[in-house]
């Protein structure tokens, strides 16, 4: 990471003042602007985690490409997984504007030094999971990400605008798959219900721990990196999902889920936060598998990347 050049205290006070004004006006910070080191570090951590999530997220869905049960669904799924690679690209590029290269970030991912969304540490066990991931997981991601389109760092916000547009397309496709399957055979309906049962709680965990246990939220909100608290977003997601589940004809696996007319929101149960902690610490069903997969693909591709670099260097020599 490129640290800011040393500057004296007065200058720093001026710069900080300007930075704070930009934030206060909901304007964008751009790559060449001065920014506090911690703001930069927080952004790098968040954008990298988001980029890694897109890349690791290719695995659970990619698992079903060769087995997709119709050619139309195969095309949709392949295009979606391709989009995720594209999202990863934008986000790594956004990170590069902060002075960190894709190679460095990938090395940290493989070494387990940077995280990705815990949801991708759950396996996909049936084709219905492709639909459920679209509906619930992309749905939750959109809840998280739409506010980020207004995030204070310019390149990140602009990447999010493009990503969110594609994500809502994916979400609709996932919902449409489930709704088609629900109009199919009894076995298909059971497959959808079983899938929703497995993914509902992990989807709720995607918003992170309850606000009381989320120490970084306040600073991130003050900086305009984050725009809503975890619990606010979770509530929004639940309120959005309940009528969709009813329209599909599936039951969400939460006996405490009821409409609360006083709050104007649904009350709902809490996910198993111990499980969340375990998964974040590497003990989910697929953590080891996901990182090993990425490491293998990266290692096996090393000779290709080296060849491309050598070829480019030679051609540059020749043309100069």
């Amino acid at each position: 990471m490129t640290a800011s050049p040393p500057i004296c205290a007065d200058d720093e006070r001026d710069l900080l003042g300007r930075f704070d004004r930009v934030i206060a006006h909901n304007d964008r910070i751009e790559p060449r602007d001065w920014m506090p080191d911690k703001y930069r570090a927080t952004l790098v951590r968040q954008i990298a985690q988001h980029a890694h999530s897109e890349i690791i997220g290719m695995q659970p869905e990619g698992n079903w490409i060769t087995r997709a049960p119709s050619l139309r669904r195969k095309a949709i799924l392949l295009a979606k997984v391709q989009d995720e690679a594209g999202h990863g690209l934008y986000l790594y590029s956004a990170c590069e504007t902060l002075g960190v290269s894709r190679g460095e970030l990938t090395a940290k991912l493989i070494a387990g030094q940077q995280k990705y969304s815990s949801i991708f540490n759950y396996p996909t066990l049936s084709y219905a999971d492709v639909g459920t991931i679209g509906w619930l997981v992309d749905g939750a991601a959109i809840c998280n990400q739409v506010p980020l389109c207004r995030t204070s760092y310019g390149p990140y916000g602009r990447a999010m605008i493009r990503i969110c547009k594609e994500e809502s397309f994916h979400q609709r496709q996932g919902y449409e798959l489930l709704s088609t399957m629900m109009r199919g055979t009894e076995a298909q309906r059971a497959m959808v219900q079983e899938s929703v049962d497995r993914f509902w709680w992990p989807a709720l965990m995607m918003f992170g721990p309850p606000d009381a246990d989320s120490p970084n939220t306040t600073q991130s909100m003050a900086w305009g990196i984050k725009r809503d608290t975890n619990d606010e977003l979770r509530q929004k997601f639940v309120d959005m999902s309940v009528p969709q589940a009813a329209a599909l004809g599936v039951t969400l696996p939460d006996p405490q889920l009821t409409w609360n007319p006083e709050r104007g929101h649904h009350d709902f149960g809490q996910p198993n936060w111990d499980e969340f902690t375990t998964v974040v610490k590497g003990g989910g069903p697929c953590n080891a598998q996901r990182v090993a997969h990425r490491k293998r693909a990266h290692d096996e591709g090393a000779w290709v990347r080296e060849a491309a670099t050598a070829f480019a260097a030679r051609n540059q020599e020749r043309s100069s």
Binding site: L71, M181, V304
Partner: protein, 263 residues
């Protein structure tokens, strides 16, 4: 009509099976850009396959395997998921495992050059549907060929390792090259009617192009024996490689578990 259907299956199955292989690269490619490019090529070929299988079913409904009464499975899916191995008419060229990136690039270069030569001729087909499919495919295949060609030269001139892997890849893939240009009676018949293309007519052009890439890369054609037929038949006759059964087991497993499924 039966001949046209069989011919569309040949072209459609080539695309379907090769798309399957390329799609296996998803999340496994050497870099994100390659992940995207290979998925894109797989998508193009899958699109071609869908149009061609639909054309086959329209030309002669008898090629579509019978489905249980009331099954909502469309013809393209019945053809892709419910035919048994001997009913697939793709060349064996598209079946083997991907191997490493060098094998993939060699295979893609040969396949895209071959298919582009066929599709360029097919744009003049007397069958308006085939002609339209070919017209759309020509743009896609030109990109596929150029992508593979660029990588071929890059690997040839990259590092000692990449060149050595490329040479091994050439030796591995080349035995399957000849089958592409072996004319099947159906291809000859439809070429005679101005509907299809006899691949033998495209062989010289394809070979010139491949030799150009080899020459730029300072490589020779490997001197290896061509892969022989089985009982005098090849993939076009439904006689495939041992890789095919394993591929179809994955391709068809979910669809076959739900013959009345809606997806």
């Amino acid at each position: 009509a039966a001949a046209l259907a069989a011919y569309c299956l040949m072209l459609g199955d080539d695309a379907l099976i090769y798309s399957h292989r390329l799609s296996e690269w998803a999340s496994n490619a050497p870099d994100l850009e390659e992940d995207i490019a290979l998925a894109n090529i797989a998508l193009d070929l899958l699109g071609q396959a869908r149009l061609l299988l639909a054309r086959a079913a329209a030309a002669d409904a008898r090629v579509v395997p019978p489905m249980p009464a009331g099954s909502p499975v469309p013809a393209e899916d019945a053809l892709a998921f419910f035919r048994d191995e001997p009913a697939f008419r793709n060349v064996r060229f598209v079946e083997p495992d991907n191997g490493d990136f060098a094998v993939t690039i060699v295979r893609l270069l040969i396949f895209a050059t071959y298919r582009l030569a066929l599709f360029e001729r097919l744009t003049g087909s007397a069958d308006p549907v085939l002609s339209a499919i070919a017209g759309k495919g020509v743009k896609e295949l030109t990109y596929h060929r150029d992508y593979a060609g660029r990588w071929f030269v890059t690997l040839a001139q990259g590092t000692v390792e990449s060149r050595s892997r490329l040479e091994s890849a050439l030796t591995l893939v080349w035995p399957l090259h000849d089958e592409l240009f072996r004319s099947h009676p159906i291809e000859k018949l439809l070429a005679g009617q101005g509907v299809g293309v006899d691949p033998a007519d495209a062989a010289a052009e394809v070979d010139v192009l491949l030799d150009q890439v080899l020459s730029v890369s300072d490589l020779d054609r490997p001197s290896v024996a061509a892969m022989g037929p089985v009982s005098n038949g090849t993939g076009r006759d439904g006689r495939h490689t041992e890789a095919m059964g394993h591929l179809l087991a994955q391709l068809q497993v979910v669809a076959r578990a739900h013959p009345n499924g809606r997806w």
